[in-house]
C-alpha cells in the first residue's frame, strides 16, 4: 500500500528581515527612544560611580574631618561636609552602591519569584491557581511601602533585610502581570501541539511558556527598579533600612539632615537629588523599554 498522497516537506519561503546586530539595536533604541536612552545613560552613570566608588570618591566616606564639620560646598568638598566632617560627595557616591544593590537584587528576586509563581499559577490552573492568587490578593491588599515597613520592622535594620523587605511586595505585582501573559501563551496552538506530542510539563513550561513571558518580565524588572530604590530610601529614612554610618541615600536624608536643614541644607539636598535622578532614570528607561518590547506599540 502506498500512500494516496505523497508526503511533502513544506518549507517556509517568506523572506526574513535582516537580523540587527546588538550595536544596531542599541542605536535604533537611542534614535527611536531618546528619553529612554537618557534614562539608560543615567543608570549607566550610576553603575559606573557605584562600581568605581573607591577610585572616584575624593575622600573616605566613613572618615570625618573634625575640623570641617558643616563645611559649605567648595572646591575641596563639592557637596560640602556633614555634621561629622564627612565628605557628602563621597557618601553620595558610595550610597549609589547600596541603592543599586538593593534595587537590582530586590527587583530581580521579587520579579523572578513572582514571575515563576505567575507561570505556575497560569499553567496549572485549578486549585493551585486559586490558592496562589488568593495569596497574592492578601499581599496586594497592603500598600507596597506599608508591607515593606512591616517586614523591615520584624527583621530589623540591615542591608540584607532591606532587600527582603523590598522584594516581597514586588512578588504579587510581578506574579499578576506574568500570569496574565502566561494564560494567553498557554492557549496558543504551538503549546497545545507540544502538549499533544506528549512533552513533559517541565519542558512545556521552561521551553515554551517562560521564553514567551520574558518581555513583560523584563518590563516589570525595570519598572520596579526605580520603586525599589525609592522604597530602600524610605525605609532608611524611617530608621528601618541601613544603619549609620553606612552611606545610604535615604539614611543621609534622615537622621541629622532635617535637624540641620537650615544650617547645612547640602547634607539633605544632594542625596535627595541622587534619589530623584536614580528613580527618574529607571522610570524613563523602563517606560521606553516597555514601548520597545510591546508588539502592539511596535507595530504602530
Amino acid at each position: 500500500m502506498s500512500a494516496p498522497y505523497p508526503l511533502v516537506h513544506a518549507t517556509a519561503s517568506a523572506p526574513l528581515g535582516q537580523r540587527l546586530t546588538v550595536a544596531e539595536e542599541v542605536l535604533k533604541f537611542v534614535r527611536t527612544k531618546p528619553l529612554g536612552a537618557g534614562g539608560a545613560l543615567i543608570i549607566l552613570g550610576m553603575m559606573l560611580v557605584a562600581l568605581f566608588a573607591e577610585a572616584l570618591a575624593p575622600y573616605d566616606p566613613y572618615r570625618g574631618d573634625y575640623g570641617l564639620q558643616f563645611a559649605r560646598p567648595s572646591v575641596d568638598h563639592w557637596f560640602g561636609t556633614d555634621e561629622f566632617g564627612r565628605d557628602v560627595l563621597s557618601r553620595v557616591m558610595y550610597g549609589a552602591r547600596i541603592a543599586l544593590f538593593v534595587g537590582f537584587v530586590a527587583s530581580f528576586a521579587g520579579c523572578t519569584l513572582g514571575g515563576l509563581l505567575g507561570v505556575v499559577s497560569a499553567y496549572w490552573g485549578g486549585k493551585v491557581d486559586l490558592i496562589l492568587e488568593r495569596l497574592m490578593d492578601v499581599l496586594l491588599a497592603f500598600p507596597q511601602l506599608i508591607l515593606a515597613l512591616a517586614i523591615a520592622s520584624i527583621l530589623g535594620p540591615a542591608v540584607q533585610n532591606v532587600v527582603v523587605a523590598v522584594a516581597i511586595p514586588i512578588i504579587p505585582r510581578a506574579a499578576r502581570v506574568v500570569r496574565a501573559t502566561a494564560l494567553s501563551v498557554k492557549e496558543n496552538p504551538y503549546v497545545e501541539a507540544v502538549q499533544a506530542l506528549g512533552a513533559l510539563r517541565r519542558r512545556v513550561v521552561l521551553r515554551h511558556i517562560v521564553p514567551n513571558v520574558m518581555a513583560p518580565y523584563i518590563i516589570m524588572l525595570t519598572a520596579q527598579l526605580g520603586g525599589a530604590i525609592l522604597t530602600e530610601a524610605a525605609l532608611s529614612y524611617l530608621g528601618l533600612g541601613t544603619a549609620e554610618p553606612t552611606p545610604s541615600w535615604g539614611l543621609m536624608l534622615s537622621g541629622s539632615a532635617p535637624s540641620y536643614a537650615e544650617k547645612a541644607p547640602w547634607i539633605a539636598l544632594f542625596p535627595g537629588i541622587a534619589i530623584s535622578l536614580g528613580v527618574f532614570g529607571f522610570n524613563l528607561f523602563g517606560d521606553s523599554l516597555r514601548d520597545a518590547l510591546d508588539p502592539k506599540l511596535r507595530k504602530t
Binding site: Y66, Q69, F84, G85, E244, K263
Partner: protein
C-alpha cells in the same frame, strides 16, 4: 532741708532695698518661680523619644519610663524640685536617724490616697521597699544592689516605717529619694508583683488616662491629691517619637511645649532663632555619661587586651569637641561625673587606658594589643545600639569611625528600646553595646553598684572580687575623704581592666515654651518629673 534729705534718704533706702531684692531674686530664680502665683488649668503637652519597655519604674532605668509615669506616683522622699541635691519628703512628712546610724524612722503623711480611693499607709511603703530590696522570684529589681545595707523594713503602725540596717550607710537617704522607688499599694503587690509592668495604680498628682504605644501617653489631674490646690494642670500628654527632628519640630510648631530630656544645640539654636523670647532653654550638666558595655563573658572580649584596645581606640578629647555641638556629649571623665565631689582627679584619670591625652600613642598601643591577642589584621564586631538618635546613634558613629583607625570594623545595629534592654541587660546577647550610665544624682552607690558581681546593671557580665570589696567598703564609709579614696580605687580597677568603657558625660538642654512655669531642670532627667507645681500661663 531736713525733709528733703529725709526724702532723699528714703529714696536711697528704697533703691537699695530694690537692688537687694532684685539680687536675691536673681540668685534664686527657682525659688522666685516657685513663689509666683500659679494658674489652674490647661494640659501640658510634651514630647519624648521612646516608648517604655514596661510601666514599672522598679524594673526600668530609662527616661522613657520615668518621665511618663512619675506624675502618677508618690515616693517616700524626693530631691527638692528647686534645690538639687537637697532631699525633702514626699509621702514622708519627717524622719529621724538614730545616733548609731542604723535605724531610720519615717512618718507617713495622713490623707494620701491611691487613685482607687484606698489610703497610702506604712504597710504600702514596706511592701514597696520589700519588693525593691528583696524581690520575689520572677521579679526584676534592678537597683537592689543600692540597698545591701538594709536588714529589715518594718511598719509598726500605719504612719511609721522603720528601716533597720546592718551598717551605717553613706547613701541610704539619697537612695530613698530615688524617683524610681514609687510606692505601690500592698494589696495589688500581694496579688501580682508584676502587675505594674502593664498597669498603673499610684497616689501621685495625676491619674493614668491612656497610653497608645508609639503615639501618646496621657495623665489627668487627681482632684484628691494630698497637697492642697495641686496640681495646677488639668493633665499632661506626651507625644512619642524617636526622631529628634520630629520632636524639635513639635516644639517649634507649638504642638508640644516641652522636651524634658535634651535637644541638640543645632535644634536649640534654630528654635530660639524662630521663637525668640517665647522659648526658654535650661542647660545643665547631667548626671549621666554615654559609654559602651563590653561583653566580658564571650570572645573576643574575654581577653583584656582586646577590651583595652577598644577603649584605647576612642579619642575622648576629640569626641568632646566634635559631639558637643550635635549631641550635648561633652565632658571627659571616669565613672563619676567630672566636676562632682566624687570625680576622679584629672591627673589620675589621664594615666588610665583610653584617657591618655596623646591619641596617636593610644592607637599605636591598641594595635599592638590587638596583634598580641591574635588579631594583627584587626577584627569585625557588632555594636548593638538603641534606635534613639540622640545621642546613641551619633556617639556610635564617632566610635565606629575611630575604631576603623585601629583596624576594628564595627557594624552599628540599632534596636528598639525593649530589644536593646533585653540583649544588653537581660540576656547578654551582644559583643559591644551602647550602655549609658545615668543616675538621678551624683552618688557612688548609685553609679558604682553596677560594677558588682551579679548586679542586674552589670551588662558586661564581669566578676572581680576587688570591685565587690571596694564597693562594699565605700558604701559603709561615712567619712567623705576616705570614701573618695575607695571610690577612686574602684574606678581604677574598672578602667585598667576595661571592664566597661565610659565615653563622654552629657550636658542637657531642656527646651520649653515660656508659658510653662515653675519647672526647674535638674542635672538628672529622671528627677523633678512629678509636675505637681508646673503650670501654664496661657493655653
Amino acid at each position: 532741708m531736713a525733709p528733703r534729705i529725709q526724702r532723699h534718704g528714703l529714696a536711697v533706702t528704697l533703691a537699695a532695698l530694690a537692688v537687694l531684692v532684685a539680687s536675691v531674686v536673681a540668685a534664686t530664680p527657682a525659688a522666685a518661680r516657685a513663689a509666683e502665683t500659679g494658674r489652674r488649668g490647661g494640659v501640658l503637652l510634651a514630647v519624648i523619644g521612646a516608648d517604655p519597655p514596661s510601666l514599672d519604674p522598679h524594673q526600668e532605668s530609662t527616661f522613657a519610663n520615668i518621665q511618663l509615669v512619675a506624675p502618677l506616683y508618690s515616693t517616700l522622699l524626693q530631691i527638692d524640685p528647686y534645690g538639687y541635691p537637697k532631699i525633702v519628703g514626699d509621702a514622708a512628712s519627717e524622719w529621724k536617724i538614730a545616733p548609731d546610724g542604723i535605724t531610720y524612722t519615717f512618718k507617713i503623711r495622713h490623707g494620701i490616697r491611691f487613685h482607687d480611693g484606698s489610703p497610702l499607709t506604712a504597710a504600702d511603703v514596706k511592701a514597696t521597699y520589700d519588693k525593691i530590696v528583696s524581690p520575689p522570684a520572677g521579679v526584676l529589681s534592678i537597683r537592689k544592689n543600692a540597698y545591701t545595707e538594709v536588714a529589715s523594713i518594718e511598719a509598726p503602725d500605719p504612719s511609721t516605717v522603720v528601716f533597720r540596717l546592718t551598717f551605717p550607710s553613706a547613701s541610704l537617704l539619697n537612695n530613698l529619694a530615688s524617683p524610681w522607688n514609687v510606692i505601690y499599694p500592698k494589696t495589688y503587690l500581694d496579688k501580682d508583683p508584676n502587675y505594674f509592668k502593664t498597669n498603673v495604680m499610684g497616689s501621685g498628682p495625676f491619674k493614668f488616662k491612656a497610653y497608645t504605644r508609639g503615639a501618646t501617653f496621657e495623665g489627668v489631674r487627681n482632684p484628691d491629691y494630698f497637697v492642697k490646690d495641686r496640681p495646677y494642670l488639668d493633665g499632661y500628654k506626651f507625644f512619642i517619637s524617636p526622631e529628634t527632628s520630629v520632636r524639635a519640630a513639635a516644639i517649634r510648631s507649638g504642638r508640644a511645649y516641652i522636651e524634658f530630656r535634651d535637644l541638640p544645640n543645632a535644634e536649640v539654636e534654630a528654635i530660639k532663632k524662630q521663637l525668640g523670647d517665647k522659648i526658654v532653654v535650661q542647660t545643665t550638666p547631667m548626671t549621666g555619661q554615654f559609654g559602651i558595655a563590653i561583653n566580658n563573658a564571650a570572645k573576643p572580649f574575654n581577653d583584656v587586651r582586646v577590651r583595652k584596645a577598644v577603649t584605647l581606640g576612642l579619642d575622648r578629647y576629640t569626641a568632646g569637641k566634635v559631639l558637643y555641638g550635635i549631641t550635648g556629649l561633652k565632658l571627659v571623665g571616669g565613672l563619676m561625673r567630672p566636676g562632682s565631689e566624687w570625680a576622679m582627679p584629672e591627673a589620675e584619670l589621664q594615666k588610665l587606658p583610653g584617657f591618655w591625652t596623646d591619641a596617636e600613642k593610644s592607637r599605636t598601643e591598641a594595635k599592638r594589643l590587638l596583634a598580641e591577642a591574635g588579631y594583627p589584621n584587626g577584627l569585625k564586631v557588632v555594636l548593638k545600639n538603641r534606635n534613639v538618635k540622640l545621642p546613641y546613634q551619633d556617639f556610635a558613629v564617632f566610635a565606629i569611625q575611630e575604631w576603623r583607625r585601629i583596624g576594628i570594623e564595627a557594624e552599628n545595629r540599632p534596636l528598639e528600646t525593649a530589644a536593646w534592654f533585653n540583649d544588653g541587660q537581660n540576656t547578654g546577647n551582644f559583643e559591644l553595646i551602647i550602655a549609658p550610665t545615668v543616675e538621678f544624682m551624683d552618688d557612688p552607690d548609685q553609679f558604682l553598684g553596677r560594677y558588682v558581681t551579679g548586679s542586674t546593671q552589670n551588662w558586661g557580665r564581669y566578676s572581680d572580687p576587688r570591685l565587690d570589696d571596694l564597693f562594699s567598703r565605700q558604701a559603709r564609709t561615712l567619712e567623705p575623704a576616705e570614701r573618695q579614696k575607695l571610690v577612686n580605687e574602684l574606678q581604677k580597677v574598672v578602667l585598667e581592666n576595661a571592664y566597661y568603657m565610659p565615653g563622654l558625660w552629657w550636658m542637657r538642654n531642656v527646651v520649653h515654651w515660656a508659658k510653662v512655669k515653675n519647672y526647674v531642670a535638674q542635672p538628672s532627667h529622671y528627677t523633678n518629673q512629678k509636675l505637681q507645681d508646673v503650670w501654664l500661663s496661657e493655653d
